[in-house]
Symmetry: C2
Subunit: 320 residues, 2 copies
């Protein structure tokens, strides 16, 4: 009798068994994540940058997610101020360097001719490149960041630069010499604040997105303020600049920015709706594990390791 | 008297002192390298791929350096065979995926319609993804690769994937579990051999170049055969494909390849002349050190580490 039942169970679950026999892929782990493991991104934390249409008349829209507190908030506040003032409307992408960055804003070196900044801009200190970390109150093991009290999930895979972790869906670095600080890192698609030489920290009016291999040496040396979550190809495919430092040597090559709007300034039906896979979820832990040990049909030798920037936190569009 | 001499020496050497007072940059280390630290790249080891001119009529030329023995030579020989047969002339770049690869060749899935391969092509085994390493005969410390007996310079900076090194101007991975094998790694600009599922290893007719963050999980799973040393932007700026796996869904979007030629097949005055900074030179060691510890005027916090793919081996064009 038990044999028959076992056979019946086996028959009923055969498709499941067949599915389980396939080693998981990053995509299959993401697809299997439960609805409760996804967290909505507030449209107010998204900036939508619209470039002039391309030569074929196709629209170019880029969605940038801003970093949550406590990371880089002096600059993030400036970016909100600039967006609400519609300051970027009529500016341009003026610098593109292969395997490095695409940069936008006013791009005017001559201060007398530069576009005036709106009132209320913060001047941010270099000390704000990092943020304090506190030990968890219960067991002293896990770190907690204020004010969100988000759990820091330590990344157990080796990193060339420092101890790393994920918090609230973002990859971060942690001081490995007792400094008890954390900072957002530069990966493909990261958005940072262009600046002059130290101690200048930039305002947030001139921004760049990484369009190449992660320039992690910039971590703690430039403010990271967010990441492109849609449309990075509109920046990555732009012609490379031929002037000094990759600035377009002909103003006609600059790519016009029609507008930059925070998501909550857009009409309800135009608001960008996205969610990310919670970095303290079981599915995210599995996702990191699978990224580090690919053994699905295409792979022959699992790496047994993964670079922090190759663990792209899953982000997906919802409701169109 | 000594004071006067000291002062005189100081005056004479003031410019030198002033120069030394500036912390070195990767560029300054490269500029200071002696002529003897650079090694010529044989034009026969370069493949020149010419795409159709862009929409503005500008030429698009890409120079690929092929890996030296003993790495991936079964596939490299196939690439030489294909180039000498002018097999790629009239093929195209048919697949472009953001932060991943641009891929070219025949791109025909239907075997009956595929362009026939030239005679004499190798069928290469998966075991050739890696190459054996032997201990140095003198002290057993440094590894030697045959037949060149090139010194392996161990990279002392942490890597997320394995022990790493440089040999003959190339970054490589080394088995860290006693396997005594080495393999070429995937970095930005690396060229690899597209293939079907294992155990297929590809022929070398369908190739890709990395146009995003280094996909190191592909190491030992796909044959790396070389790297783009000039013109990668002509691939990185191509429109991203919208079909399955990033293949262009409209054949009209494919980018025509006019020709692929090995450097020694070109007329003397058209041959590409490049050299690389020897990875066993003092300047290269200094270069790696500086890459890992940027403290020039722009930097505030040296990283104290560097990712293997952020140590781009210096390559320069000579004689135009």
């Amino acid at each position: 009798m038990r044999t028959v039942l076992a056979l019946a169970l086996l028959a009923a679950s055969a498709p499941l068994f067949a599915q389980d026999a396939q080693p998981p892929t990053p995509d299959s782990v993401i697809a299997a994540a439960s609805a409760g493991e996804w967290r909505a991104i507030d449209p107010a934390d998204l900036a939508v940058m619209t470039l002039a249409p391309d030569r074929d008349g196709k629209p170019r829209r880029i969605v940038i997610q801003l970093l949550p507190p406590p990371f880089s908030q002096g600059w993030v506040e400036n970016i909100r101020t600039l967006a609400r003032a519609h300051w970027w409307d009529g500016t341009s992408v003026y610098r593109v360097v292969d395997n490095w960055v695409a940069q936008w804003g006013d791009g005017e070196d001559n201060e007398a001719q530069a576009r005036p900044l709106p009132p209320g801009m913060n001047v941010v200190a270099e000390s704000d490149y990092v943020t304090p970390v506190q030990p968890g109150p219960e067991d002293g093991r896990d770190f907690i960041l204020t004010p969100q009290r988000e759990e820091i999930v330590i990344n157990r895979w080796l990193d060339s630069y420092t101890v790393t972790a994920f918090v609230a869906g973002w990859p971060i670095g942690l001081d490995d010499s007792g400094g008890r600080t954390a900072w957002p890192v530069h990966c493909y698609g990261s958005v940072g604040v262009a600046r002059d030489l130290s101690p200048d920290t930039g305002t947030g009016a001139e921004l760049y997105a990484v369009i190449g291999h992660a320039p992690r040496q910039l971590d703690r040396n430039i403010a990271v303020v967010g990441r492109v979550i849609e449309g990075i190809e509109h920046l990555a495919t732009l012609p490379r600049g031929r002037g000094d430092a990759g600035v377009y040597d002909d103003a006609a090559l600059r790519v016009p920015i029609l507008s930059v709007r925070l998501g909550d300034e857009l009409a309800e039906d135009e608001r960008p709706r996205f969610e990310y896979l919670a970095s303290d979820s079981e599915s995210f832990a599995r996702y990191v594990q699978v990224r580090a040990n690919r053994n699905d049909a295409f792979y022959r030798t699992p790496a047994g390791g993964v670079d922090l920037c190759n663990v792209q936190v899953p982000v997906r569009r919802v409701r169109g």
